[in-house]
Amino acid sequence: MPLPTAPAALRAPARVRWVPLGTFALAALAVVGVAAVVAFLVIGVRSGPLDWVELLSSSTWDPPRSRFGGAAMIFGTAAVAVVAVALAAPVGWAAAIAIVELAPVRWRRLLRAASELLAVVPSIVYGLIGIAFVRPLVAGAAGVPGGDSLVAAALVLAVMVLPTVVAVSVDALAGVPAPVREAGAACGLTRTEVIRSVVLPAARRGMGAGLLLGLARALGETIAVFLVVGRADGRFPTSPGDVLTRLVRPGQTLTTKLNGPESILAGTAGGHWAALCGLGLLLLGAVAALTVIGQRRAGVEGAGRRRRRPTRRSVGGGMGRRSWPGVGRVARDRLVRAGLSCALAANLLLVVAISVVVLTRGAAALRPGFWWSPSVGASGGGIRDQLVGTALVVGVAGVLAAPVGLGLGLVMTEYAGPGLSRWLRTLTLTLGGMPSILLGLWGYWLFSIRLGWGRSWLTGSILLAAVAIPPVVIAVASSVAALPKERREAALACGLRRDQLVRSVIVPQALPGLVTGTLLGLARAAGETAPLLFTAAVFSGAPALPSGIRDSPVSALSTHIFTLAQDSAEPGAAHTAWGAALALVVVAGALVLAAVPARRRMERNR
């Protein structure tokens, strides 16, 4: 069937049945995937006797005696996430206000991009930073031997959560229309007063969403926490005062428990496995709820639909009430602005410090030979095979994620009614917020054990595709939403049916989004460790390129760093680990950087 070139020939393209069929099939694949993860956890829970009351309330976790109380893990998760967000949210909010309200307009994009650089750094690299800097800090300050503690994990998480808070808050602030500010200024308010009484009330909902999304990210993080939180189970605090003591002791969170050796030792049925799956369900429920609520609040439609009624906090009301005696309005304005700028400076300083640390410690990777020589023994040599393995797993993940993401995005924007569309959006967000260790365990159970693939690179690709799909869907959906109404109308006026419209107008429109979304999704996937640990990677002996599917593991950069960081005391190992970390940051950074020109070019060529 020759495909017609529509405008020149002036006739409608032929009907194409495969368009709706294909998109629906691909979208269904994604839906089935998410359902499968939930089903896996439910099957796991039902595979053995599980006392939910004990799991939620007891803090005795003793597998040999079949006692499975998860209270200590639940406490650990909550404590780590709350402390992290409590540290990150004020700094993130202040920095976002400084970026949008104080910085010159031409710097705004640059500053925002700079503060988002923190999000490009993979979590395994944050783990290394935690081992090298945060653990000694906690060891010295709190007298904890080794520094393994919940608070060390919280400090690392605070840095990881920061870019989420900043990005969402910047979006919320930028959404406040400029005339509102101008009106405030015209009333004679100072910059600070405009921010407090005009901008913040309008942006509050979105900024709160930043906090929720940050919290979700903190709850789901696995690898960075695992490396600094210790291996002991920890305890549930016995009194309110005990909480502080518990914070400076080793403990477990839900994610680190699932990432530990018990998941392999528990077998894939029975009480122990059921208890682990129960913890997994709890984790998934909490993260999914926070993500969905947070995204709804951050979404434009949410902010527009529900306008808050003016409260006393709005213009005027709050002004006089909290005036500081003895400090003039102008002085106060300066003081607050200085404070906000300091927060932004702290944020940027963090970016610079982390770049410097990764660059200096990762000096090994500055030697070209490091990139293309194979690793030797326990910690020597280069990272050639790891690089090839990561490229293979991530590349195939991209091939899988792009069509599925496109299909889901098209169904969501073009075919589904408002109800289904909202539902699919929720599903995408749930997948995007899914803790990667749950994907890892699902892959372990389904592919490694049930299908008997053992460790296979393809399992890794499938799991990383799941990581990469949500950014693809979101980018496709926003590309399609940006289609001018006139073009759609023109196409319909030409007599195009919906599938023809999709193929000839919508898909070309969505392509730039597809490419950027895929690249961004892959940048995230490249740094993932937890999905590969049990399913796809081994430390040594995997051939650079696997020859089949079953029992064909690869070496990957992220898991290589994980093993080097954890199981080695030799200085050589740290050297190699940091070198590999720099390489991983370079890979992820290159994917993100490639996304920008790729999009620009495709939009020009459209």
Binding site: A232, P261, R503, P508, V538, G541
Partner: protein, 296 residues
């Protein structure tokens, strides 16, 4: 438009080729008897790992495909062997009745490749301060978190910090067996001077970074680390002689475990480790060889 078509074509070709690759290997796995004639997977104990990794390195140069992984320790290796995920499990403890009860369908065959001692490793300043030997009762107090200061054992005035291994580690089981015999070990103490560690390298790193600490660790892992010392148990030091005669209570054999007698690549791997070259590797990493144990 042309771009769309090209992109979708490319994606289609890639997906199809991946699917084709899938199905072709499926078939190979089903048809080929033994399936993976020249490939071997090894996993388990971090104590045996250095020997196995070096041996695998040599065999790999001769064309055998071997992957070595040390996740989950001895019990992890045994679990993966039972699940058919590896052909050879490395173990730094004898199989227990629990292991056999958990995997009744597996025909475990253990081949001893050497021996080693689990030492109660303390910091040099504790050792030099007077704690040179522990009785069983003292060791029990230490690992149950009922010892606050080394003074109580006639050592220096220094708080005690205990690192025990996580469950499933061979080292932990050997220690528990010495302390409690056939009884189950009590749950870990709730003392704040107690933490849990994983592999041998991690244990060593933690001991090196914590003054006044003690922990169970393969004695060969502290060679060359002056800050650490091994205490005697009931006055018996873990010398090679005492390990050989099993006079030292925490001497332990090191095993390669297979499901059924080793065949194919698993057999050549086990044979290599038992052979002269492999046994040299056992010596190189500080363990006792089969010959030294008088078993050869």
């Amino acid at each position: 438009m042309r771009l769309t078509r090209r992109c979708s074509l490319l994606a289609l070709v890639l997906v199809v080729s991946v699917l084709a690759a899938c199905s072709s290997t499926e078939e190979r796995g089903r048809n080929g008897t033994g399936g993976r004639a020249s490939s071997l997977r090894v996993s388990g104990s971090t104590t045996v790992n250095p020997v196995a990794a070096d041996a695998a390195e040599v065999l790999r140069q001769q064309g055998t495909k071997i992957t070595v992984d040390a996740s989950g320790g001895s019990a992890g290796g045994i679990a993966q062997l039972s699940a058919g995920q590896v052909e050879v499990a490395m173990s730094s403890k004898p199989l227990s009745a629990d292991d056999k009860a958990m995997f009744p369908s597996v025909d475990f065959v253990s081949t001893q490749i050497g021996a080693d001692a689990v030492g109660v490793v303390v910091r040099r300043e504790v050792f030099d301060g007077g704690v040179k030997s522990l009785t069983k009762e003292q060791a029990t107090r230490l690992f149950e978190g009922r010892l606050a200061n080394w003074k109580e054992l006639g050592g220096p005035d220094l708080p005690v910090f205990v690192y025990d291994k996580e469950p499933g580690r061979g080292t932990r089981e050997v220690l528990d067996k010495y302390l409690y015999g056939k009884e189950k070990a009590p749950p870990p103490p709730t003392s704040d001077s107690y933490a849990i560690v994983g592999g041998n390298e991690e244990t060593r790193a933690k001991l090196l970074s914590t003054p006044g600490s003690a922990g169970p660790l393969s004695t060969s892992f502290i060679t060359g680390f002056d800050k650490l010392a091994v205490v005697a148990i009931d006055g018996i030091e873990p010398t090679p002689e005492n390990v050989r005669t099993a006079a030292y209570p925490m001497a332990r054999p090191l095993f390669l475990i297979t499901n059924g007698p080793p065949t194919g690549p698993a057999k050549s791997f086990v044979d290599f480790v038992l052979g002269p070259e492999g046994q040299q590797l056992v010596t190189k990493h500080g363990y006792l060889t089969i010959a030294e144990l008088g078993l050869a």
